[in-house]
């Protein structure tokens, strides 16, 4: 099942799968918004939304009703087509890239193997990096289409920031690609199954109670990657795009109602990709601590005593594991936003070009030298 599928049944299943993942992403956004407002309230010693329904959860519905009843507004001076197209395009890169991340082990039935991911791409990393950085275009479209100076300045700043951190982002994962020798996310997760064991100069140092996750091999790469994804998704320490003290709201100054909501969905989709990639590269993806999927399957089989049910249960357990990792990183995004102050623009550029880029370069060279030394001298 590398393409859309051969038989009609497979095509239908794959299409339904894509739609379900997309709808899951979209409906996760209001919950994240609620979590963000509520969490920020508690961090800043106030309440956040707590009047509408239990814990303020019905606030989300109230927000949706408000979005629906707002007048549809476009400024006179703007470019109308760009103005309306930008929020629609803002939805696309985040969702299309997220589909390539594996969410759980494949579901095996006697006739078929269903991958729990939108599509399995053999150059998944390159695809995700390429597609998700198209978000810079939607920001530029919004800034240009609004015809407002604040929007244009915000859009320019945002795109300069995104392309600057793209370098550190791209270079910080060269180390992990060197380590696993693959662009395929599923193969990368398979390499992280089981307990931790370092192999060097023919010796093996095992600590099987720890998981074999990438963070133990690439701690610096992890930190650089995570910091760069904050800049890529325009989140707070790097949200120069909407520095409200000087730019009102940056590239979405002129937007409101549903169009604004679509930019929000795009931003949260980027957070989800960042969290999903963090989990996949450095925290074992869907794997459960130091257990291999086979061990989990055997445990499930012992529990329910039927191969079919054990398969389904194992898929569910791995999906829950992935969701927990995703939720932890999403919460870190929210917590950081309400903890750190914003950078000044020259500090932001200095951090990206003069600090993170050299460190990522050093990480790449160090990883290459260590892999070279530990492998070459044993064989030679």
């Amino acid at each position: 099942m590398t393409s859309m599928g051969i038989t009609g049944f497979e095509i239908v299943i794959n299409a339904v799968k894509l739609l379900i993942i997309f709808l899951l992403m979209v409906q996760a956004v209001p919950i994240l918004v609620w979590l963000e407002r509520r969490g920020s309230g508690f961090i800043q010693n106030r309440f956040g939304p707590n009047r509408v329904g239990p814990l303020g959860l019905v606030q989300l519905l109230a927000d949706a009703v408000k979005f629906l009843t707002k007048e549809d507004f476009a400024p006179d001076k703007g470019n109308r087509f760009m103005f309306y197209a930008a929020p629609v395009f803002a939805l696309i890169p985040g969702a299309v890239a997220f589909m390539a991340i594996p969410l759980s082990v494949p579901l095996k039935t006697p006739e078929h193997v269903f991958l729990i991911q939108g599509y399995d791409i053999n150059v998944g990393i390159v695809f995700i990096l390429g597609v998700s950085s198209l978000a810079a275009y939607t920001i530029l479209m919004a800034g240009w289409g609004s015809g407002s100076k604040f929007s244009l300045m915000g859009a320019l700043r945002a795109s300069a920031q995104i392309i600057s951190y793209e370098l550190a982002l791209g270079l910080s994962i060269v180390g992990i690609i060197l380590l696993y020798g693959t662009f395929n996310l599923t193969e990368m997760i398979q390499a992280q199954h089981g307990g931790l064991s370092f192999k060097a100069f023919g010796y093996t140092l095992a600590a099987s109670w720890l998981p074999n996750w990438g963070i133990f091999y690439q701690p610096l790469g992890m930190i650089l990657f995570f910091a760069a994804t904050f800049a890529e998704s325009n989140r707070l320490p790097f949200d120069l795009a909407e520095g409200e003290a000087e730019l009102v709201a940056g590239f979405h100054t002129e937007y409101g109602g549903f169009k604004m909501l679509m930019f929000f969905i795009g931003e949260y989709a980027h957070m989800m990709i960042a969290s999903g990639l963090m989990a996949t590269f450095f925290f074992g993806g869907y794997s459960i601590w130091n257990l291999t999927p086979q061990e989990v399957y055997n445990w499930c089989y012992g529990l329910v005593g039927s191969e079919q049910l054990a398969n389904v249960l194992s898929v569910l357990l791995h999906f829950v594991s992935f969701s927990i990792k995703l939720a932890i990183f999403l919460w870190i995004f929210i917590q950081v936003r309400w903890t750190l102050p914003r950078f000044r623009y020259d500090q932001l550029m200095d951090l990206g070009w003069k600090t993170m880029l050299p460190w990522a370069l050093g990480n790449t060279i160090a990883t290459a030298v260590i892999i070279f030394a530990t492998t070459y001298f044993v064989i030679g």
Partner: protein
């Protein structure tokens, strides 16, 4: 390549987004032109200026050009990184390792020159 799936979901999301915009226009209605000021772009209490050609700092162009240079150099590292272990195991490790280190020297020189020539100073 699962190109079918990518095209399908891209078209679906585009249709979904367009439908949302039309839905909001239908339920909320178009904005009524009660005054010209309502349809002006955002401005803090002043009449909005008509200037079409906002001046933009040349630093943005410089950043974009430097980005293209360095991004292409980084992209060259990707195929090398993927095949590095394969080359090590087949005995061509020293050549592949050495040539990439020479390439990285050029990369580092470029970065050093860029910082030294103050191409990245924002003031």
């Amino acid at each position: 390549m699962p190109i079918g799936g990518v095209i399908f979901i891209t078209l679906f999301i585009a249709a979904f987004g367009t439908a949302l915009i039309y839905l909001a226009r239908w339920t909320g209605g178009r904005a009524k032109k009660t005054s010209q000021a309502k349809f002006d772009i955002y401005e803090c209490g002043l009449p909005a200026e008509e200037k079409k050609d906002t001046k933009i700092s040349v630093k943005f162009y410089l950043t974009a050009i430097l980005f293209i240079l360095f991004d292409i150099e980084i992209i060259f590292m990707y195929p090398w990184a993927v095949n590095f272990r394969h080359f090590l195991n087949t005995g061509a490790g020293l050549t592949v390792f050495g040539s990439m280190m020479v390439f990285l020297l050029v990369f580092i020189f470029g970065l050093w020159w860029e910082i030294k020539s103050k191409a990245l100073e924002w003031d």
